[in-house]
Amino acid sequence: MSINSEQKFEEYAKQLTNVYRETYDKCYIYVASHCNLREEFELTMNDVVDLLLSAQENSSPIEKIIGDDIEEFCKNIIKGNRLSFARRSKIFIRGFLSVVIVCLIFEIVDLVMFYIEPTGANPWTQSTSISGVICGLIPCLLLTTVYDFVVRILIKKTKWFRRKQYIACGLILIGICLVSAILIAIYFDINIVIPRFVAISIEVLYIIVYFIMKKFSDKDLQKQGETSKRKSRKIYCDPKVKNEIIDVYCKNYEKDCKKREKKGQPILSVNEWCREYIRREKKGFVIYSIVAICISVASITYTAIGNAFLDTIIFGLVILALVGGISAFVIRSDFISKNILTEIMEGKIDFLDDEVDSLNNNDEEVE
């Protein structure tokens, strides 16, 4: 059974051995400490892995590919993968987008509460605290910048340090960020307040700027002959899991063939069986959606009767988060399953076991 799955560069890097693996590790550290954006880092490392794999395949000496100065090689390869200003801005803005959206939702809920239970004050000009955001952002931004700076100096001074140390340092940094945010909030008694309309305007503006940058970024991608990540997104499935799913499908198909044979019904071809399977899964998904919507609406309505508005909102959000999480899992599984079945139909996966194959052939001979 063979699969043709889309893997990340780290998966492919496992094929590297000896000096090629050592070079990969060195490049990994250097690139990781010099690329601030994950996308840029992945693009660069993908090039490095492709190059090293090709060199390994042809047994080319590493010096022939990298040269004498590995630092210079990394610098050049990073330069070749620099993202455009629009793409960099979009990624940076996206980093805080979820925080901004959550803040905006809270502001809107707060605003609605004012209109439901009026206090006499103008809800738009009332003060709103942004201390939490500031307390969290300051240590994160400061410490990550300092960390980046320190790592770069370390690489220059000690030439290279191991990947495990690099990851351990990163984990320590996350811990320090969390502790500092809590300490700042407790000891410095920061209380920054701004009028609500200002907070909402900033948040809305932030979201608008994100979409403008996204548009420019997508244009850049189109120029480079790529599609935007969302459009070209393929759900990643671990090869081992994928193989197990294929095994299950194979067994199911085998069972179905035997069952039909016993009943004297015509055996379905692989493509017919896959189409039937997709149709059944679609039906199952529709039933799941109806059940999920009914349960959510019923439980929220039940809570709304005889409970405070805020309690209903909180309960509703919890229910939505739960159902959303389960739905995301169901949709993901559905996508993976559909992709595998499509690949089987296109002949990209060697699906049939010899036993089933012979069963099919027998059937054809009988016909």
């Binding site: 892995v49 040269g67 002959g225």
Partner: protein, 109 residues
């Protein structure tokens, strides 16, 4: 004289020439240049050249999975690149003729 300085000037034209023979990728370009005797060129020095050519619009890049797995950048020549290559060939021939003449006349003296 350091031959690497001389190489730098003509590397762009050589890379364009290699790409003009058909869609290719970084490692293959290096291997071909090496076969022709350009042993001093490594991937590190090739990358800036490829980026420069791509930004100028002389070559275009297509990303596709390589036979070994990872996504690979495949380069091909654009119309502008083809014109640039023709212009490079003319200028290079003219320049080598001039240099040859100078060196030959100096030898005769």
């Amino acid at each position: 004289m350091d031959s690497s300085q001389l190489l730098k000037g003509i590397l762009e034209g050589c890379v364009l020439s290699v790409i003009s023979r058909g869609e290719t990728y970084g490692y293959e370009i290096i291997t071909k240049l090496d076969e022709y005797g350009m042993e001093d060129i490594q991937q590190g020095s090739l990358y800036p050249v490829l980026t420069r050519l791509e930004k100028k619009g002389s070559i275009k890049c297509r990303k596709a999975p390589s036979p070994l797995g990872p996504i690979r950048k495949y380069y091909s020549l654009t119309q502008k690149g083809f014109e640039e290559l023709q212009s490079f060939i003319q200028s290079y021939k003219k320049m080598t003729d001039i240099v040859d003449n100078i060196l030959e006349s100096e030898d005769k003296k």
